[in-house]
């Protein structure tokens, strides 16, 4: 057997193993998917919006928060302008005049985590949420998220992030990616292994900050650092799959690349800061999933490199064919015999089916009604290549100690 074939089989076995593990976890917990309980008492909730040069977006997020299905006297919205150079502060202040629950602050630029901590100091609520300025929430999102705090052990509730108005191919790819992520995060929450408290919308009990302290820089991924710190303290993070928040996808390759480089680099560096999370005896499933993540990254890089090598070889072969014999195209003979019966192909089709099942589950769980055909095809064609390139860059930036500039 050729090395490349072994690599493909390892990749498929690993993917199927993980897929079966996830699916079995789903079956074990299918009654618990929508765990949110109706809340009768409405606690005071503080929602912090850190922003930097968000003049274009601030009105939309504020309007969506004002529109939340939640008693207004139990809501506190804290806008922290982190030294924006645009009209962010003025625009937020203008909207604040319409509603007393909005408080707008301005401070010197210090990075997102400093803005969040600035807001934390001023937050009065028993529950504190962080919301990115370039997002907007569904009307019922807060109520549904808070319903998870009926479990006294739950310390943080994360929400489902969806891509708003995906127009470009790249945004479509992110749309599919986020749907699958919503399903997976739900599964990971059953295993007490959620590894991120995403910026778009996460709600914390105030005690979290009182016990564990404020946000940290976290290698420009403060939401990952916070989740790792929570896991290290064995604080429970629940995922409210039915609480939806919309964010805008990166429309351009460069923007997407920088964003994902930051996420993956942040993941690796923060994991380096919390190596104890890899201890199976202490963190069981979480450690297992971390290992899967890292192994998956190496596997993804290897398989994509091999695929690129094959594509290049095929291109060179076609070029040679063209140079030697001219354009000599003939349609492939489609018959029973043209069916690829190699085990790699059949197992590959099986893996693809598993992926489509997950996508459908993600779609069902998040009550998604959009058409996914085109987006899914784009995802299948380009995501693996993008993902591998992000991982390579993340590893490279750590190896060469390259600091990222972020805002």
């Amino acid at each position: 057997m050729h090395y490349s074939e072994i690599l493909i089989y390892v990749g498929i076995f690993f993917s199927l193993y993980l897929a079966n593990f996830i699916f079995l976890t789903f079956l074990e917990n299918k009654e618990r998917v929508f765990e949110s309980k109706k809340i009768k008492n409405f606690p005071l909730v503080s929602l912090i919006i850190p922003c930097y040069n968000e003049a274009k977006n601030i009105e939309r997020v504020l309007r969506s928060l004002l529109n939340l299905d939640y008693p207004k006297n139990k809501l506190e919205i804290i806008v922290v302008d982190d030294g924006s150079k645009d009209e962010t502060f003025a625009k937020a202040a203008k909207i604040a005049k319409e509603s007393k629950i909005i408080k707008v602050f301005q401070k010197k630029n210090g990075g997102k985590y400093t803005a969040l901590n600035y807001g934390l100091k001023r937050a009065q609520g028993r529950f504190i949420g962080s919301i990115d300025a370039d997002c907007y929430v569904e009307k019922t999102a807060l109520k549904k998220a808070l319903g998870y705090f009926k479990d006294p052990k739950t310390m943080v509730v994360t929400s489902t992030i969806k891509i708003a108005k995906p127009n470009t191919v790249l945004e479509g790819v992110q749309y599919v990616e986020f749907l699958i992520a919503a399903f997976l995060r739900k599964i990971f929450s059953f295993l007490d292994s959620v590894t991120v408290t995403p910026g778009p919308l996460s709600i914390f009990r105030k005690e979290v900050f009182e016990t564990l302290g404020p946000y940290k820089k976290g290698h420009q991924a403060e939401d990952l650092e916070m989740a790792f710190r929570l896991q290290n303290a064995n604080f429970k993070i629940a995922h409210a799959v039915e609480a939806i928040v919309y964010t805008f996808g990166e429309p351009k390759l460069k923007g997407l690349f920088l964003q994902r480089l930051r996420w993956r680099r942040g993941f690796l560096l923060n994991l380096g800061d919390y190596p104890q999370l890899l201890d199976f005896r202490k963190h069981g499933n979480l450690s297992f999933l971390f290992f899967c993540n890292i192994f998956g990254a190496f596997l993804s890089i290897s398989l994509v490199s091999y695929a690129l090598f094959k594509l290049l070889a095929s291109f060179l072969e076609k070029t040679q064919q063209f140079l030697v014999a001219g354009f000599n195209f003939s349609f492939p003979n489609l018959s029973w015999f043209s069916l690829n019966t190699k085990p790699t192909f059949i197992l590959g089709i099986l893996s693809l089916t598993v992926f489509l099942i997950y996508l459908m589950l993600g779609k069902i769980l998040t009550c998604d009604k959009s058409k996914l055909k085109g987006k899914t095809i784009s995802y299948l064609v380009i995501y693996a290549f993008l993902n591998a390139s992000w991982w390579v860059s993340a590893f490279a930036s750590i190896l060469f100690k390259k600091e990222l500039k972020w805002k």
């Binding site: 007490d192 499933n285 979480l286 064919q321 000599n328 015999f337 019966t341 085990p343 099986l350």
Partner: protein, 241 residues
């Protein structure tokens, strides 16, 4: 904290399930490949009968049965089989014993086809020309793939050409005989154009000149310009597409 704990039983079940799915993939692959082989074998048998039938007709009749000769159909059948054989090779690998068996059988069919059509061409004045092409693996013949492509091009360009490709390393006594008849040396690629043996890679221009020299190209082109005959053979990695 409890949910974080590794559940060994669950992981064992997952491992068992994954192994089962994985093994099913291999079984399905094997099952489908065998189906393909069986079907290919049936096709080869059918062509064998057609060739035998025609050979018998030649033997029974004193005159060649030119009016009944459907040369293009036979050629097409042979070409179709070669295409299918290539697909099977891609699936099973070139060293698979089942595939090698079918390849040997196919090579015999090629030889029988060549002998028969050569005779028919002469007797029925079909104005066909024949190229026998011996290829070897990439290590021994780096240019064989290009030569195969050029021959494919010529097969399409000149419908009067009948090209038969053979794997030099295939252990088949009939091929050994062919090699000794033409006293062939291991200098690849080898082309036998209407009984003239040529060694080494021939690019498009060279081959065009060779065809002009040994096949009376212009005359044949005119003779076959209105005739919609088709195609020829292929095999293995240096296949003529």
């Amino acid at each position: 904290m409890n949910n974080k704990k590794i559940n060994i039983k669950k992981h064992l079940s997952v491992f068992f399930l994954t192994s089962l799915i994985f093994a099913s993939g291999f079984f399905l692959s094997d099952f489908l490949s065998k189906k393909q082989l069986t079907k290919l074998n049936i096709l080869q048998q059918s062509l064998r009968i057609d060739i035998l039938s025609l050979e018998t007709q030649f033997s029974i009749l004193t005159q060649a049965p030119c009016e009944n000769l459907n040369e293009s159909t036979l050629t097409k059948e042979l070409y179709d089989i070669s295409q299918k054989l290539t697909s099977v090779e891609n699936n099973l690998g070139r060293d698979n014993p089942y595939f090698l068996q079918l390849k040997k059988y196919y090579s015999i069919l090629e030889l029988k086809h060549w002998l028969l059509i050569k005779r028919a061409s002469k007797n029925c004045k079909l104005n066909l020309s024949f190229i026998i092409y011996f290829y070897a693996d990439k290590k021994n013949c780096p240019n064989c793939q290009s030569q195969g492509l050029i021959l494919s091009y010529f097969r399409k360009k000149y419908p009067f050409l009948r090209i038969y490709s053979f794997d030099w390393n295939l252990e088949l006594s009939a091929l050994q005989t062919l090699k000794s008849v033409y006293n062939l040396k291991e200098q690849f690629p080898i082309l036998i154009v209407n009984d003239k043996v040529l060694y080494g890679f021939k690019n498009k221009e060279n081959l065009e000149k060779i065809l002009e020299k040994y096949t009376n190209l212009q005359l044949l082109e005119e003779a076959t310009s209105t005739k919609a005959t088709s195609t020829e053979t292929t095999s293995s990695e240096n296949k003529i597409k």
